[in-house]
């Protein structure tokens, strides 16, 4: 019989969890309860004595100062409705895992196979609530039905002696392990049906290519030799589907695109966007930089690697985890951050994790329109994603140093969750470059970390489709930061002892992808699926092959080092299992209980996917500039902009992320006289014995895509670099990462405007090449997520085409970094850069419900000269503060600089250098690119201005002691006279309570 232990807070102890539930139910569901209490429940399914259970209950499970505990008896006091929420069978239960380990330490012996501890939380609600409303609360707020189950009991039906019965959510699988064969000798319609029913996400062309492969007599002969027949096995078709998925193979970026620009009538054929624009940009830049080339490893590994110092190299990767976050925001986001941690770790021979970055794109949390089926309320997505990344980052001990929240109601269909991680590795390891690795023939295939379950099956193919009715729930996973932390602690020691020759993480596609990729080093492998450790019995061989169960790495271990590797692993409480070996057979060879279940040519698997052909037609939208309303008031507009979701303070979120662990965050996300101003970028000092720093920043401006994705991309690049140089990053030592999130760009019945979306993709790539080359910023890594649409029934919601451009680089001495807050009264205020009539897709127009036409254009040549001069001024210590101009333009930058420094400013708007005649509103709110607001101590004025001699550098006014931003026109008429307090209050209001 399972035991049930309940733990409750003692009378009078504040229940913070319950208080939050009560508050949120009131604020968001309008349910005003008189009281909420919560209990923790442990269900123990193990052969233990009553004494052992009591020791656990009163030991690790209960805090004697504030908690009480009961065994097989209820602790619920007064309530009207009881809701108990636990996990569904097979869902990762981190607390249950820790509880089990705690008991094992107490009893000094391990649990038997199949024994376990399961946790749940009991919510005791008092007030106007019945069972029906409780069902709504459970389903819509307390739990996520995809991963959790709940029990609801009203007070009058509750057994006050026995409480709730113990229920064990154990996975019960009785199916025998079998390998099925799949007949592809069928009609086209049946091929497509097979793809759809099996969640393979393969198109007809791809299914036909596989059909042709299995009809090839030579292939059949080779198969016969290993005991396989003329039909593909389920393992083989799944391996192909994973490897050929959009997620893993980037088929859209590899496609042949037939691009027509109707404005010029020019037609061109682009053979792979990836090769033509991204790879070529980096190649051209590296060639031009010659000995100053900073790239060490680009595109080929889990992350990009650049030079840092003579002794150290920097690694950076940014991923998206959009689809899982749409279904389970907490689990999806948590898995996103711990997943990209593995990428940044498993690059080269392994790298120590240094920082995280997060950028989230959401619909407004205050969105109040009716939601189509299967979509979660934006507020829930916001809460869940923020909390998932909080737990993933904080628990892993990695500071979250940089990020953004971007709001647009089209993200209601799919939120974008970008998670990035930087890491650091020695330049050389055991005499070889640390950023290089290769598995060798004969190396053992060792899987390290967590066990395999049904979690995450079909994650790779699922994210290669739009969110639809049949989207699988097994695609959702919950990360386990502690199991991962143990694994990484172990692996870094194994790295330093030289115990392996290659490493890669198990992410999308699971073992199939990780071993398939590593096997390319040697030209084949032999993998025994039955040797893989499972969370519970009953997995089919194909499920073992493609499960995306988390916290796993695949490592190539030379046979002579296997014993040392496994011994160290055991000592450090990490599970490692020898699953086979790398070979030179030329085949992707899996066995189950000694019998061959896959025999696929490595060449076909990796190079056999047919190239897609995508039509793209660019016809610019017909747009015009709006007239500002007659009663337009610039001060009111400024206050409204400060309080808009895209501009307002994100402090409530920033403070939930540990941004200082590792003690190297030198420019923190919040800065200024009371630590609450918005930093442009982060400076991190990774080495305790040196003041050299790394700088990380990003740019993102999806609104501009509504006019043209070419300037959208140009502005994202410029914004990333502008933020980077604002804090002191060296413009000549910086690399970029592009993360494309697009809506489906392939023309079809579902996507009639595919040609336009594909043209938008082409134009963004053209700008990516043009501006990276012009700025001399090589791309080192990136990712694309191409199916960010929602489609159920007649409702289709597509995200705006969005690119996150992240940058990483260097500052020689962190003590020369600059922050954005005004420092001292009497300092001179300069604007670097020209302001033009460029309010198209600006934040101001968005506020007015307009789009406009004049989207900002980027002039990379003048921008680059400006950024270099700024670097020179920073190195000479001439910059008191520096803040980039972006959303909301000059007015917002002035306000932020002033209130962050707690100092006023007096600004003469007529001193702004403009292109053409501009109105005051245009000068204040234009979003012209490449501009920076700088304050300078008067004693440095001469040296400062001489550095900007032939550039746009306008002296606008000075920093004052009056707590007010004053902006006047040429006639000295006041345009803005706003107190620091009112501006800051407006800026802090929207998300303060989130």
């Amino acid at each position: 019989m399972p035991w049930r232990i309940e733990v409750a807070l003692k009378q009078g102890v504040r229940d913070a969890r319950a208080a939050r539930v009560q508050r949120e139910l009131r604020e968001h569901l309008g349910i005003d309860l008189t009281a909420v209490r919560t209990l923790d429940v442990y269900t123990i399914d193990a052969d233990l004595t009553p004494e052992e259970i009591a020791a656990a209950a009163h030991g690790p499970f209960c805090d004697p100062v504030i908690q009480e505990v009961a065994i097989d008896a209820p602790l619920a006091g007064e309530f009207d409705i009881l809701i108990e929420v636990g996990y569904r069978p097979g869902v990762t239960d981190n607390v249950g895992r820790t509880a089990k380990e705690a008991i094992q330490y107490q009893i000094g012996r391990p649990f038997a196979a199949g024994e376990g501890v399961y946790t749940s939380v009991q919510y005791l609600l008092s007030g106007p609530v019945d069972v029906a409303l409780a069902e709504k609360i459970a389903a819509g707020f307390l739990a996520n039905g995809l991963i959790q189950r709940w029990t609801i009991v009203s007070s009058d039906r509750f057994d006050r002696i026995k409480g709730l019965p113990a229920t064990v959510p154990k996975v019960q699988v009785t199916a025998a392990s079998e390998v099925h064969e799949v007949n592809l000798d069928v009609s086209d319609a049946e091929l497509l049906a097979l793809s759809k029913a099996g969640m393979l996400a393969l198109n007809l062309d791809e299914m036909r290519t596989i059909q042709a492969y299995i009809r090839d007599p030579q292939v059949l002969a080779a198969r016969a030799a290993v005991g396989l027949g003329a039909l593909l096995t389920d393992c083989e078709i799944e391996a192909l589907a994973q490897t050929w998925s959009e997620h893993c193979k980037h088929k859209i970026f590899a496609a042949r695109i037939d691009y027509l620009d109707t404005t010029t009538g020019k037609r061109e054929e682009i053979n792979s966007l990836f090769k033509s624009y991204i790879v070529r940009a980096t190649k051209d830049i590296r060639a031009a930089q010659g000995k100053d080339d900073i790239c060490l490893s680009v595109f080929k590994d889990n992350a990009g690697v650049i030079r840092f110092t003579d002794d150290w190299s920097l690694v950076f990767k940014v991923e998206t985890h959009n689809s899982p976050s749409a279904l389970d925001p907490y689990g999806g986001a948590l898995t996103g951050i711990v997943g990209v941690n593995r990428d940044a770790f498993a690059t080269g021979m392994g790298a120590r994790l240094l920082f995280n970055t997060d950028v989230f794109c959401f619909a407004s949390p205050f969105y109040d329109q009716p939601l189509p089926p299967r979509l979660l309320p934006p507020r829930r997505i916001f809460e869940g994603v923020v909390e998932g990344v909080e737990h993933g980052g904080n628990k892993s001990g990695i500071p979250t140093v940089n990020g953004s929240l971007v709001f647009d109601d089209r993200f209601v269909g799919k939120p974008l969750v970008y998670c990035g991680t930087g890491s650091i590795m020695p330049a050389t390891l055991h005499g070889k470059p640390c950023h290089e690795k290769a598995a060798r023939v004969g190396d053992r295939i060792v899987m390290v970390g967590g066990r395999i379950g049904k979690d995450g099956i079909h994650g790779a193919t699922f994210s290669s489709e739009e969110l639809h009715e049949g989207s699988p729930v097994t695609a959702v996973q919950i990360g386990d930061p502690i199991t991962q932390r143990r694994m990484l602690d172990f692996l870094i020691i194994a790295r330093d002892r030289g115990l392996y020759s290659s490493i890669t993480d198990n992410g999308a596609g699971g073992l199939s992808s990780s071993i398939g990729e590593m096997g390319q080093d040697t030209g084949g492998f032999e993998l025994h699926l039955d040797r893989a450790p499972l969370k519970y019995p009953g997995l089919q061989p194909w499920e073992i092959l493609i499960s995306e169960a988390q916290e796993r790495m695949t490592v190539a271990v030379p046979p002579e080092k296997l014993e040392a590797f496994l011994t160290l692993s055991r000592e450090m409480d990490v599970e490692s299992t020898d699953l086979g070996q790398f070979t030179a057979s030329g085949y992707y060879h899996c066995l189950y209980e000694g019998k061959t279940v896959t025999w696929l040519s490595m060449e076909f698997l990796h190079d056999g996917v047919p190239q897609m052909v995508i039509p793209a037609v660019w016809t610019p939208p017909n747009l015009s500039e709006p007239q500002l309303p007659a009663d337009f008031n610039v001060q009111t507009a400024l206050l409204n902009l400060l309080g808009s979701l895209n501009i307002c303070s994100k402090e409530s979120v920033v403070r939930r992320y540990d941004h200082e662990v590792q003690a190297g965050t030198i420019v923190k996300p919040l800065t200024g006289v009371v630590n609450d101003g918005p930093s442009d970028a982060a400076v991190v000092r990774p080495l305790a014995d040196s003041y050299v720093g790394t700088v990380v920043a990003h740019g993102i401006c999806p609104r501009y895509s509504d006019i043209d994705t070419y300037p959208m991309m140009a502005n994202a690049i410029d914004e990333g670099l502008r933020n980077y140089v604002a804090v002191g990053g060296k413009i000549d030592h910086v690399a970029g990462l592009d993360n494309f999130c697009w809506c489906d760009p392939i023309k079809s019945d579902k996507t009639p405007d595919g040609e336009y979306k594909a043209a938008q993709l082409v134009r963004a790539n053209q700008a990516l090449y043009d501006y990276c080359v012009a700025f001399g910023v090589p791309l080192i890594s990136g990712k694309d997520s191409m199916k960010n649409d929602y489609q159920i029934g007649e409702t289709k919601i597509s995200i705006p085409p969005t690119v996150l451009f992240s940058v990483i680089g260097k500052i020689d001495d962190v003590r020369l970094a600059t922050t954005m807050d005004a420092k001292r009264a009497g300092d001179l205020v300069y604007l670097l850069g020209v302001t033009a009539n460029e309010l198209g897709a600006s934040e101001l127009y968005a506020q007015l419900g307009e789009l406009g036409a004049h989207v900002p254009q980027v002039d990379a040549t003048t921008a680059l000269a400006r950024y270099r001069s700024l670097n020179a001024a920073q190195t000479a210590g001439l910059i008191a503060s520096c803040h980039d101009l972006s959303d909301g333009g000059l007015a917002v930058a002035l306000a932020e600089t002033a209130f962050s420094g707690g100092l006023g400013m007096r600004i003469d708007l007529s001193k702004v250098e403009t292109r053409g005649e501009l109105s005051a509103a245009q000068i204040l709110f234009s979003e012209s690119a490449s501009r920076l607001l700088v304050t300078v101590h008067p004693e440095n004025q001469g040296r400062f201005t001489s550095l900007f001699a032939r550039q746009s550098c306008s002296l606008l006014g000075e920093v004052t002691t009056t707590a007010q931003l004053q902006v006047v026109d040429a006639n000295n008429c006041s345009l803005i006279a706003a107190s620091l307090d009112e501006m800051k209050a407006a800026w802090q209001a929207p998300l303060r309570e989130m």
Binding site: N394, I482, V814
Partner: protein, 274 residues
């Protein structure tokens, strides 16, 4: 001169081991070893060879059973392989020898939940206080002013005028104890640091100066000997001026951070002979 050998235990979710070791080194320790607990449990490293034990910040076992609860359970029950000894016996010996233990954040939670603090009657095995969820219900990363009690026996805060300014980064930092325990802590001046106003004049109960709602504004406590000390804020995260959140605003900020004072006091105390 006595050697000062510092050890920082890591593993199972400890996160701040590197910066704690760096702070010990900066403070003048002869050695500051980061040791994975597996090394201790394998019997290859022994606490007896050290004088200064550091329990660093992090999330032991994910704080899954409450902050540091599972970690405390491990330290109490884990056995040294190939011997009859338990790790807790090495810790007892370490304390009996008058050596120093400092726990920061999760390390403080660990000490309190093991019973190492406040250990009012010299019993180091029974929990008598706790650290629980912040009143605001959220993890908080923010800097806090800590008033130092000059009458405290705490070795680590000796000679500090006024107080120190340090970052807190936790979700479960609210110090809670019953009235008698609080009275004894007060009487013994064991609450060496309390959350305060920015002039270090008065303890503060209200958010955000007191970031978690700690009773009596307690940020850290020592045992009656002053040798065992734990605190929620992170002294190892302010040893250099560039770690201060406003270092770009204040040209007169000293090169050395205030957190280093605590480590230097510990090292100097050991150096003088325990």
């Amino acid at each position: 001169m006595t050697k000062v050998n510092a050890i920082v235990i890591t593993g199972n979710g400890t996160n701040c081991e590197r910066e704690v070791a760096a702070a010990c080194t900066l403070a003048g320790a002869d050695r500051a070893d980061i040791v994975h607990i597996a090394e201790l449990l394998a019997g290859r490293v022994r606490l007896d060879d050290y004088q200064f034990l550091n329990l660093a910040g992090g999330f032991l076992d994910g704080d899954d059973l409450g902050s540091a609860k599972a970690g405390a359970n491990r330290l109490k029950h884990a056995a040294i392989r190939g011997s009859n000894e338990h790790l807790v016996e090495q810790i007892d010996r370490f304390i009996a020898a008058g050596k120093l233990i400092m726990g920061v954040c999760n390390g403080f939670q660990l000490m309190v939940k093991m019973g190492l603090l406040p250990a009012l009657s010299g019993d180091h095995h029974t929990q008598s206080a706790t650290l629980t969820f912040n009143d605001c219900g959220r993890f908080q990363d923010r800097w806090a002013y800590l008033k130092v009690d000059p009458a405290s026996p705490c070795i680590y805060t000796q000679g500090i005028q006024g107080g120190v300014y340090l970052p807190v980064r936790h979700g479960e930092g609210k110090f809670v104890a019953d009235t008698e325990t609080l009275a004894a802590i007060d009487a013994g001046h064991l609450a060496a640091v309390k959350y305060s106003d920015s002039d270090y004049r008065e303890p503060v109960i209200d958010f955000p100066a007191n970031p978690n709602g700690a009773m009596d504004a307690i940020a850290g406590i020592c045992d009656p000997t002053g040798r065992l000390f734990g605190l929620m804020p992170h002294p190892e995260a302010y040893v250099d001026r560039t770690q201060h959140p406003r270092w770009t605003r204040d040209e007169n900020l000293p090169a050395e951070g205030m957190g280093l004072w605590l480590y230097r006091n510990a090292v100097d105390f050991i150096r003088r002979g325990i």
